[in-house]
Symmetry: C2
């Protein structure tokens, strides 16, 4: 199954003509999952190879505007374009994010008379009080849902921290288990861990033939891990007729943070194929970065190393860092210096460092059988 | 006093890489007044010659997302950039728009923990029930202001229709009288009439000298329209010592509409130097346009003619119309055809037709004395 990740915005604080506000798409078999949706994301999507109409899930790491202000408009435009393209199927859109997100969407869509042609649900993560300074926490008064729900709003879940695993279970299906974990920022922020399930290896057709088994439903049951008893009484174990399993990939996408909270996130992200971490400012601005709830390349590298990630992707750069393509010789703030700083911190660790830019598309290859 | 108008977005329904969502800036002596603020307006502003930090007033014609979704982000970015540029003075921002706008801003800024360094007030226009179909009207439940106001939110006015003039008085000061008027659209929509006050003509210095008057405070009083009594008892009338007055300019900017409501708007816009009117679809799509609460070039032309406007500027084009610069020969939907249709409807009327494009800047020259 093909999997890739496309960065739609890699700037922090606000969108600019050179860097969009935070947004990235993880694509699996054509389904698009959107992580954060800063203002202008819909226009960035139009410029990319991706189709907004394929978005089935949205994950909002935290409620800062540079990660959220593009969401109402994106939903409206998806609906408008669905309308004009009858080929497009109407997706149910599941939206995950911190408490307050449901009210935000209800008010922004409601007051603007925005009609949607598809149903959506907002599943809210309940933050804990140690995810931000006190002034960054929303009062119950502010998130109380006043006013009628949007006609397309379906009931959403309230998801609380599972203390034993130090994480939030967002959903699991046949292909994926998706969890969230806590980060420390100016307001409560979350990271997401997308764990693909291991898939059974290929059927050994030679062995099956030798056992006298012809292609049919039994093949499916063996592949699904069931033992099968032949008419002769012989029990065939899946392990006899299957190649080695293909381990699932793991993609971890962290929201804005100056640190992860607790050990849970590191366990959860352990061995990630890709870890996406912010690096708002260079190491030389560490104090300022931390004051604003942000990280430097060195801090991002420490997280990647603690998780034994294979690849660390940096993004969410201060708008002072122009994209490499617009960099001029002698420019003071050089984004490639951020990469160098992370690489320096990771030397000999084997972690590869990648600098995200708007529209960078990153394939996430299948793992080899163990 | 220099006055000009810059179009930041001329597309309808949503922003695209080729046309921004609705926004334009009227600039008078460096002060910027923003009319509508679709998603991406802040990025369009960055690409223009204008400075977002000079915005002192915002006017929202109606609450559709393509006119509003950029406002929370714009305010945040103005604040951030004010912060980093201590030269910039902190403006009080007055925001005018339909009922519901105050709640929209309170919720979007509040839930996102958006800090602003400047105070703002939202002055709400109370629509009448004939401005839209019933389903386009907001219930009191939806606009009820729940939750605490933003720390920077100052009390705003509620402005109701002045029945005698069929208009809403937004404010008046030494230089301007600004009113709003009612339009018919899918949801309540407004137009704005910016009337510059007439200014006294220049002092006739020869005459003043002959009267024995030396430069000083008396000059100012005469210029302000006061009569002055000399020590000799001679009364000097302003009309004796002033050149002819310079008539104030009139700029009318209409929100989305399929018609203006009543005769008041036409009287108010009478003789406008510039009338900005939407033309979402060509004449051949009139039925569809009206169904969606929009206008064709012919309909816009009829309003301009009824007002005896000097110039009609068309904007808010369906995204099917590419900008002229991207138009290819043989393209089906040609935006210059919209101009032709308006010109055809206005032939012999003397009204000039201008097609807005993103970043078009239009000077509004001083009127000549009558
Ligand atoms: Zn951010
Ligand atoms: Zn943030
Ligand atoms: Zn519109
Ligand atoms: Zn509209």
């Amino acid at each position: 199954m093909a999997m890739d990740m496309t960065f739609l915005g890699t700037g922090s604080a606000y969108p600019s003509p050179h860097r969009g506000a935070s947004a990235l798409v993880l694509r699996t078999d054509g389904d698009c999952w959107l992580f954060d949706c800063g203002e202008g994301t819909q226009t960035q999507l139009m410029k990319s190879q991706l189709r907004a109409g394929r978005i089935t899930k949205v994950f909002i790491s935290h409620l800062h505007g540079d990660h959220l202000f593009g969401l109402p408009g994106l939903l409206c435009t998806v609906s408008l374009n669905t309308n004009s393209d009858p080929q497009q199927k109407l997706n149910f859109v599941d939206i995950y994010g911190p408490r307050g997100l449901r009210h935000f969407l209800r008010v922004t869509l409601g007051l603007t008379g925005s009609q949607l042609l598809f149903p959506y649900a907002v599943h809210e993560l309940e933050p804990t009080s140690d995810q931000s300074p006190e002034e960054g926490q929303l009062s119950k008064e502010m998130t109380a849902e006043s006013g009628p729900p949007h006609p397309q709003e379906q009931p959403g879940k309230t998801i609380t921290l599972d203390v034993s695993s130090d994480s939030y279970l967002l959903f699991e299906d046949k292909k994926f288990v998706v969890k969230a974990f806590r980060l420390f920022h100016r307001i409560p922020s979350f990271g997401f861990c997308i764990q693909e399930r291991d898939r059974p290896g290929r059927l050994k057709t030679e062995v099956l033939k030798a056992l006298g088994l012809k292609p049919g439903p039994l093949y499916g049951r063996l592949k699904a891990g069931e033992s099968v008893t032949l008419q002769s009484g012989r029990v065939v174990l899946p392990s006899e007729v299957l190649e080695e399993a293909i381990p699932g990939r793991k993609v971890c996408i962290l929201g804005d943070c100056s640190s992860v909270l607790g050990e849970g996130p590191l366990r959860l992200c352990s061995g990630a194929d890709v870890l996406v971490h912010e690096a708002t400012l260079g190491n030389e601005h560490r104090e300022k970065a931390v004051d604003h709830g942000h990280s430097t390349p060195e801090m991002a590298a420490a997280v990647a190393q603690a998780c034994c990630a294979q690849r660390l992707v940096l993004h969410h750069f201060s708008q002072r860092y122009k994209p490499s393509s617009l960099q001029k010789e002698g420019d003071e703030d050089n984004v490639s210096e951020l990469q160098r700083q992370a690489e320096e911190a990771l030397q000999d660790s084997g972690v590869e460092v990648i600098l995200a830019e708007d529209f960078l598309s990153l394939p996430i290859p299948l793992r080899r059988p163990r």
